[in-house]
Structures are given as C-alpha cells and as structure tokens.
Symmetry: C2
Subunit: 426 residues, 2 copies
C-alpha cells in the first residue's frame, strides 16, 4: 500500500511542485516532533502539506500519535516564518530544495521508510549517481584504514561508481578525496545546514564535491551540526547507496549506526577486516560475525550489488560493464589488474592443487560424496537454487545444509552466486 | 549402520587386541592402495584383519573396489615382514601402536569416516585431551601471525584446552611452543614416521611435546615425510579437534586443506582476519566468506564448541568451567581479563550508545518493527529457535530471514546462540 508521502510524491511527479507547496513541506519538516514517519501519517490523513497546516486543532488531535503538544506545534505560525527565511537563505547560497518525488531527489533514498520529505542540495544528483556505494568509518583511522579507504574509493570511481560518505574527518574525507582524484563523482551527506559546513577544514573539499557530485542534507541552512543529528544523517548515507562498506570502525563508532540503517533498509553491508588485536577493527569484525560480508576489495562490493556479473548484458544505466578483476590483495601484489579472474578449478584440481608438486598419496582415495551431499548434488544438477529451495529439495535442515554447503564450496564442488543462490560446479 | 571397522573396534574394546592382530592390521595399513575406506570394506566382508590376509585371491577379487592389482598386494607376504620390522622399530623407539577402538585412541578421531586403523604414538593421549582445538597456518608467518598464534595457544592452554597442530615450521611450531610455555598440553600430528622427525630443528620441541602431550602419526617409523603425505595427515589434525582455527594462510596454504577436512568432518572452522592488502590473509578471508566463523579471540573459539556457555553446569570431562572473557583485542588493550563480559545492552542503549553524550534527535522516533520483524519477534517470544524452525514459524524465505535477523542482531534485539539458534533479547 502506498503511503501518504508516496501518493503526494506521485502527484508531484505528474504536476511539479510550486514554491508555496515546498515551503509548506519545509514548514512541517522544521517542526520538532514531526519526523518523516509522523509526516507520512499526516499526509495520509490530509492529502497535502497545506491541508495539514490549515487543519483545525480538533481534527489534528484525532490523528494517531499527534498529542496536544504536537497540535500546538502544528498550529504555530512562526515555523512558516522560519521556513521562509531558510528557503531564502538556501536560494542565496545556491542551494536547491528538492522534495521527495521530484526530479533530482535520489530514487534509492526515496525508497527508505523514513526518507526526508525535502533535501537541500548543492551540486547535482544525476541519474547515474544511483550506482552508488557508501564508504564510511572512524574519524581517527590508522595508516591501514587510510590506505584501504583510498584504494577502495579510487577503484570504485575508476569503475564508474559514485562514492557516498559523510564528509567527516578520517575515513569519510579520505573516501571523498580519493574518488575525486580518480576522476569520479562523490556525494556527501551533511548533518547540519549549509551555513555551517563541518568540519571547517573540509570546506575546500566541499567545493570540489559540489563540482563533481553533490552535498546533501535534510537540515535547513542555519542548522548547527549538533552531534545528535549525526545518527539520523547516517540513514541518508545508506539510503543513497546500493551497498555500505564499513572501512574501519571500533565498537561505538558512528559508522556502525550506518551499518544498522543499511541492514534495516535491506542494503548489503560489507566490512573490511584487520588485525584482531587492534581495537580499530572490532566493530567491523563484529559486523562480519553478525552477517555482514567480509570485504576483500572492490570485486566483493560489486558482487553484492550485481555489478560484477550483471544479468543484463548491456550494463546498468549505461555504465561501462565492469569486468571481473582480481582481488585488491592480488592487484596490490604487482599483478596486472586487467587479467580475467581465473576459472574455478575442477574438484580434482582443487583437491590436488596444494599438491601439484607432490605425489598424490596412494593411501587416500578421492573422497566420495556422503548421502546428504549426494542429495545436494541431485538438487543442484539441473537448476541454480536458493537456500530455501534447497531446504525443500533436499529435506535437510538449514544448519546441516549450511555446513554441507560450506564443505562443498571449500572443495569447489558448489559455487555461491549473488543473492544466496547455489550452483553445482563439480 | 556400524562399519566393519566399528564392529572390529567394538570387539577390540571388549577383548583387547593381541600383538598378532595389531601386526595384521599394520600389514594391511602398509599396503599401497589399502586406505581406511577400502580397509573398512574388507573388514565388513571378512570380519578381522587376519581373515583378510588369509583369504583366497578369488574371494578377495569379488569385493567391490578390489581389482587384480590389489589382490596381488593383499596376497604379498613381504608386507607382513615389513610390518614386523616396523613394529619392532616402534617398540625400540618407545612408540606405542594403538588400534582404533583401543584405549588411548582418541574417540573424536575415531569418529571421522577415514580414521586411521592404527596410530603410532609417543607420549600419552589422555581422556581430557578430547577438549582440543587445532591451530594451523602458514609455514612463513609474518609478525602478526606469529603473535596471534602465540596468544591464542597460550590462552587456550591457560583455560584448560589442548592445542593440536602439525609441528610444521611457522604457525604450527609457535602454537605448540606457546601452549607448552603456558603449562598446557599439546598434540602434534606428524606426516612421516618417528625415524624422521620433521623439520629437524623441531626435535627439541618434539621432546617437550612427548612430555606434555603426544606425537601421533599413521606412518610407520621408517616412513620419510614425503610431501604427498601432508594433505592426508591434515585430516588427523582436524579429526583430533573440536574446532579448527586457521591463524594465517594465503591461498594455496596446506592449512586450507585442514579447513576442508574439518568442514567434511562437521567440525567448526574459524579463521583469523588480517589486513586485506596482505596476501598472507587471503585464505582466511575466503574461508570466512564461504562460511567459516571470523575468530576474534579465544572466546569466539569456545563459543563454537560450547565451552563458553556450557549447557552442563558441571563442565565437560572435569574441566574447570571456563568463564566468559573479554575478546582478545580487549584483553590486549590493557584491561584485566578476569572481568565478566558485559551484558548485551538493551535495544534502547544500543541505539543511543554512540550518542550517550549527544541529545537524541527529536526528528527520529524509535524505529518500529516491520511486519516481518514482528513475525520473528512472535516466533522467538517463548522459545529459542533454529533457523529452520524460524522458517516454519514465520513463513519467511531463508535469504529474507537472514537479512532481517542480521538487522535485528545489529539492533541487539536478537542474539545468536551456538548451533545457529536465535533468541529474542529485546
């Protein structure tokens, strides 16, 4: 069922939006206690921002979740004045105000349940910016974190992907900078308003981002970048991206909030590993244990978003087709990165590969498949199956199936495809 | 259905084994082409080693998988002479010959399908050595790999666990040494025989292992440590252990063979992460992506084998009950390791923890559970459920369920227990 905001946005799309309507929406967005969720409820009830602002107190008070305090706020005319002033300030700064559903409002972001009704934007969001990956992490990275943030961002940029981050000190700033220097585009989501670019030393970076991407925020221009705004800002970072990569994060890092939002939004979460005796990686390692994908390089990111083996042979949005690349580690060890990925070896080759220089031990016959493994082989013989299809086809319980599939993958008999599907490759 | 070897082993257990019977078994184990799998087939058919050796060629040839060449081998009396010589040599070296099913043959190892029929043992395998963890890895570790091998082994030893490894250069040797220096016991599985301890520089280590554990091999004393024996040896390392930890391994490392065996044997596989731009970790990282558990420290290992939150309050085999410990990283950062692990925070605390110093943003109401999440909450409300029970209870497909569970775990609303079971902790 489409929400009130969807219906309203749908109308927008057909008719465009007047400045007055945008002001009405901004008035509502300014009101404390009226977040995206309550605004959706109100739009469902009243149909448009102006109708909400014109509604009688008694009618407003009958909406679920709208108590007497919020009624008072909704009836307070001073917010309209603030909205007008902020709107003018945005205009003076060259900042566009874009409503959800209008052209220039990122559709991926519009998909999240608590998408901002309005965004303030400097620079341009282009349709090709939908091919976006968020890179986030600690404000205090070590040399390894800095190096990896830079490598991932520049490689993503070179392969035509947009890098999204939060323009914070540390990993965020490094990711934006590396994407720009590789000639790519980048999107930065601010917590505060355009009058208070934060941190101040990133002002030159902000200007470069405006030229090769966009700065975006849901805050009005005069909003100070209060710390409390950052966790909510993070939902916009993940909302703009097809996948979120946590580059380096200790427990408690704000980047983990971004990971949480991404998981809520159904976006893939990847985390970069590091030495386990360095607290800087504890957040990333916990994420991997809780189901995030371990990220070894850009290929692993693109595999999650279907960019490595795209199903449509023409590529997405006119992007150049990314070709499979060796992992970051391989790329760094001096091999050419333009070689095709080697084909997975046959089971025999995989079993004997560490022993290519060694005689096969006569006392160890080729291990046969167990009865349960044979059931998996039969199920996968003519079709690629998802985990739950495998459950039905084999009658095996999920934990047992997971163990068996892991063993078969290690023996290169089964290959996992994007989307948790499995194919027999023996 | 019990195999021939099981029935034979069962008889052993009741009656003990004569030296002649052990010699018959050794004769068979020496024959090229007669591995544990074919030996089992033959024992199923003939009932005892001596009956196999006395069988007529025509009878032997009628057994599945026994062709004319193997019949010739089985009828060749010279193997019996070799067996007698090797048996005497073992006796001279103080090496015991232990048959599967006899006391002193590790029951965990007896459980694997291709368990050796006979083991050569110096030192003692004690019943408490069933609480064993294998630590394996590259022969050429870097400083990080050396440090982690040492930390994990000494911590396991201090907590009463036996460290199993392969006495190779690098990670293996470091793991044995650290376990011994922490006052623990350790088991080393050799590829060759006791006349050829390999590598030679580990002879002093081997002597210490005999005093505080055991050296084990399926090879006769005169067997050279041929490279081809190492992959098969690795199945014994994993077969002796409740869990296998790959400490550091590039692609192609023999340690990955041990991981493969462990997966086949249904033993948990853990892998230690490291910097992704160092090839030394590529094997471990691939394992994690294929389903191995990321290992942050000893707690993560014990969680896999039920040693961290044991179900039996008296502990296993009279072990002192391991108490929950902070992760290795925490332990290394100077905190006392005797503190109890902090309780998981409430969902509210988890959501607000990075913002404890920050005001909660008024515009972000506490996110509600989605309809699907509510189905999970209901299912877990009165019971701890496995993944497949959750599939049945919620009607959700596995990939969707996995995504939702990950989001709920990140929000600390769901906790994953050992054995892939989930509990609601909201």
């Amino acid at each position: 069922m489409p929400s009130g905001l969807d219906i309203f946005a749908g109308n927008l799309h057909r008719s465009g939006m007047s400045e007055e309507e945008r002001l009405d929406l901004l008035t509502l967005q300014l009101m404390p206690g009226i977040g995206p969720v309550r605004l959706t409820l109100l739009l469902e009830r009243f149909g448009s921002p102006s109708a909400i602002l014109r509604a009688a107190s008694s009618t407003l008070g009958s909406v679920e979740g709208i108590g007497p305090r919020l009624v008072q706020v909704l009836r307070d005319p001073s917010y309209r004045e603030v909205a007008r002033r902020e709107y003018q300030r945005a205009s003076d700064l060259g900042v566009r105000v874009v409503a959800r559903g209008e052209a220039g409002y990122p559709p991926l972001l519009a998909d999240i349940p608590d998408a901002p009704a309005l965004l303030f934007v400097r620079g341009d969001w282009l349709p090709k910016d939908a091919q976006a990956v968020a890179l986030v992490g600690t404000r205090h990275p070590n040399a390894y974190g800095r190096r990896i943030a830079s490598l991932l961002a520049s490689e993503l940029a070179r392969r035509g992907y947009v890098v999204v981050s939060g323009m914070a000190r540390g990993i965020d700033g490094i990711a934006h900078t590396a994407a720009l220097e590789a000639g790519g585009r980048t999107l930065a989501v601010l917590a505060g308003g355009f009058d208070h670019l934060y941190p101040p030393e990133h002002r030159p970076l902000a200007q470069r981002i405006v030229d090769q991407g966009a700065l975006l925020t849901e805050s009005v221009p005069s909003q100070q970048p209060l710390k409390g705004l950052f966790p909510a800002r993070n939902r916009i970072i993940s909302g703009l991206a097809r996948a979120v990569v946590i580059v380096q994060a200790a427990e408690g890092s704000g980047a983990l909030i971004t990971a949480m939002h991404a998981a809520e939004q159904g976006r893939p979460v990847l985390a970069v590993p590091g030495p386990l005796d360095d607290e800087q990686h504890s957040g990333c390692h916990r994420l991997v244990r809780e189901g995030a994908t371990l990220c070894r390089g850009v290929d692993d990111i693109l595999e999650e978003i279907g960019g490595l083996f795209p199903r449509e042979p023409t590529g997405l949005s006119g992007q150049p087709l990314p070709t499979p690349q060796p992992s970051l580690a391989t790329g760094l060890s001096g091999q050419s990165t333009s070689q095709p990925t080697p084909q997975p070896p046959t089971p025999q080759a995989a079993l004997s590969s560490p022993a290519t220089a060694l005689p096969t031990p006569v006392t160890r016959p080729m291990p046969k498949l167990s009865n349960e493994e044979q059931r998996i082989e039969q199920a996968l013989h003519s079709a690629v199956l998802s985990m739950d299809e495998l459950v039905r086809a084999t009658g095996l319980a999920v934990p047992r199936l997971a163990t068996l599939l892991m063993g078969l993958q290690m023996r290169r008999l089964v290959r996992q495809l994007p989307g948790n599907r499995y194919e027999w490759s023996g």
